[in-house]
Symmetry: C2
Subunit: 428 residues, 2 copies
């Protein structure tokens, strides 16, 4: 069951559709002051394959700032019915504008996402996120109504009322911020309810980055299936990519977005399956098209076909920000890769420290890892075995063998209560 037939479109056809829409997007974008200049030398007919997108210039957050507020708009302000803006009161904000058609497209993409993870017209969705300028609130709200779900616009806060609404209206789908979910599960129990008796079945938890472990913990504590999503206001908001019921990567809706993954230093495409910076191009936005947007978010394509039958490629959960990337011996390393690898091992505690040091003439990667008390045994051979396993797992992930040092719980220094994750003391 799919929300839109395009979800299973043959990839050749899909790429042809992308090319047609990319050409339209370029033609449309040239109506803006910004792209008129950026794309002066490019004509839509120059593109003969979707791969030619690499000939187009990138668009950055700073570009959006420089065009604030109206420089990215293809038409008169009269034609726009919504804006979302970044919320700062200092510095230059960014703003995203929507025509009525753009809102319609967005609602449909959002509905498609929710359908993919099992939501149906007969479901009742409680939107537990704040509304307002944050795209997550109204984005989910419009998508939920579009799918035909009974939508409860609860907003954030007021835990007791949230529980009452969920019980009174048989709420089956929650839109909940992951960092709030565990607190909420506990509150439900404190109010005297068993989470297994609650009517909920599905949690949409994409609003903030979180680890796979956090997801599994939410699922267990709340007795629910939790689905990750990806979105950013520059690409409308939520609704860009969403997990299907297989929970193995997020399908990006490639009929609406061209997705690339690049090396953030060189700007070139990374190898298939390699981590890099996500770059996105809108294909169905009439009011404010954005071409090759540098999201600064790190991810990789999940290889292979998804069992659900959707042909749109999947991206992995976000593995940090491009600005975090380290280069060692010519290899790109992201702290999040190391964290995810460490946290998947039951022996590893909460804290670790990544150190980059110069020893002689070469740079080295050292990883200090806190081991849980129950695993910190006196038998040196056991500890050495663990040390080797950690080093090997890390090597599999980052393609370099680090020097691993084990240490006891709470022995890594903290900064204002928060663990320091990376120390770079290399000689330049």
């Amino acid at each position: 069951m799919y929300y839109d037939p395009v979800e299973t479109m043959d990839r050749n056809k899909l790429e042809k559709l992308q090319l047609v829409r990319l050409k339209e997007t370029i033609a449309n974008a040239k109506a803006t002051p910004f792209y008129a200049e950026q794309l002066a030398d490019i004509s839509p007919e120059d593109l003969t394959s979707i791969k030619d997108i690499s000939r187009l210039p990138f668009t950055t957050k700073d570009d959006l700032r420089s065009q604030y507020p109206y420089g990215m708009l293809t038409r008169s302000l009269d034609d726009f019915v919504r804006l979302h803006a970044s919320s700062g009161t200092t510095g230059t904000p960014t703003a995203v504008f929507y025509t009525q058609k753009d809102l319609d497209t967005w609602a449909d993409l959002m509905a498609r996402c929710m359908f993919a993870c099992g939501c149906r017209k007969s479901d009742v969705l409680q939107n537990m996120s704040g509304y307002g300028l944050f795209t997550g609130g109204l984005g989910i709200h419009y998508g939920s109504e579009r799918l035909g779900m009974l939508t409860v616009p609860a907003g954030a806060g007021n835990t007791k009322r949230q529980i009452k609404l969920i019980r009174d209206f048989n709420v089956s789908v929650l839109h909940i911020i992951p960092s709030f979910a565990l607190y909420f599960a506990q509150k439900v129990q404190e109010e005297g309810f068993d989470v297994r008796d609650m009517p909920w079945q599905i949690a949409l938890i994409g609003a903030e980055p979180h680890t796979e472990e956090a997801r599994r913990k939410i699922e267990k504590m709340m007795h629910i299936k939790a689905y990750n999503s990806y979105g950013l206001s520059e690409m409308n908001g939520p609704g860009v990519a969403f997990e299907c019921t297989y929970q193995n990567g997020m399908h990006v809706w490639e009929d609406s977005y061209i997705v690339e993954i690049i090396n953030p230093k060189t700007g070139k495409h990374v190898e298939e399956g390699e981590i890099g910076e996500l770059v996105m191009t809108t294909l169905t936005r009439e009011g404010m098209p954005i071409i090759r947007y540098r999201t600064r978010d790190l991810t990789r394509f999940v290889p292979g076909q998804c069992q659900c039958g959707r042909t749109h490629r999947r991206i992995d959960r976000i593995a940090g920000r491009a600005d975090d990337m380290m280069i060692l011996k010519g290899v790109n390393i992201y702290p999040m890769q190391i964290e995810q690898c460490l946290m998947s091992m039951p022996e590893v505690g909460q804290n670790y420290l990544i150190e980059l040091v110069t020893e002689g003439v070469t740079d080295q990667l050292k990883v200090k890892v806190e081991i849980k008390d129950e695993y910190f045994v006196e038998d040196m051979r056991v500890l050495q075995g663990l040390q080797k396993r950690i080093a090997k797992n890390l090597c599999n992930e980052i393609l370099l063998t680090p020097r691993v040092e084990l240490c006891q719980h709470d022995s890594i220094p903290k900064n204002e209560g928060k663990a320091v994750r990376v120390m770079d003391s290399r000689k330049k």
Copy 2:
């Protein structure tokens, strides 16, 4: 210029349209468990004129509570896409459900309201009220987008950011809570801006009841035109009645609502122009029709034709709650009438006290009024003249001459800092 041609429809035609829709509404309502019983003896064909509505039973807030959550719905829950609920966590709440068609109708009514007070597609509206379960936020939001205004979903709070958004995006229309408006005007000045330099022109301030004096003060302090509106979640939310640019009463959209004004004690229609309880019937709501809903809100019809050309009748600003009504010598009196009359006189201070006392065998109305220091002169003749003028003004309003007593600033006792307005010490 009108948003919908129905706004100027000939009243005979309008009443015929109401009758047709009332019959449809009755037939539709009979699909609910509640009205199937309530209207068991009534068949749509029995009604030959819109006046026959008085043969239908009233629906009260308690009825809605007793039917919570699904007893008022005409169709399967699957067909609903939104609910708004009263926000309490104790007691039985009430809930209002909307189909997609109901949301469309509501958005159109809301857009019609905003158009009537001068909003146009080219305007930029900043929605400064909270979203969520409160119908004011999403109601205004959907109406604004429907009218084609560029909508800034700012939400409540964060005054500095509100100011930045208003300036950055040339906001011409504010949806702002009246009690926040004066604070906001002051903040704008504190931030170093002149209200006359702000881009705003129109304020929609209907979310809470307020006096005409409060409106004039907001208009002066903010250098803006402020328009009052009326709505309640049982009748969708905002969008029921709205002021046109003549600011002389709120046009009720009679193609969508039948409006009656009754004596809250007898349930009979009051004389034209007399204050009473507003009773409303939905004519265009498919999912949850409500017949003769006792709003408990007091108002009166504004007599005569409006200069704007709209034929839909106007109601006056809300003059309190039906529960506040007092009966003295067979005359209905509402504290709000007395307050409005007193507050329109420049000599009168902040506080007053209405006393109902038994003297001998008859009941009497006494009104104690605090006079501003600058008017509390030693010349008794001046004070007696003022006393007579107050009594005469009150008599014009309530059709009874009260005994007026003048007193000095701060001489009326307060209860936890709040003035006591009514003391009824009559012998039963």
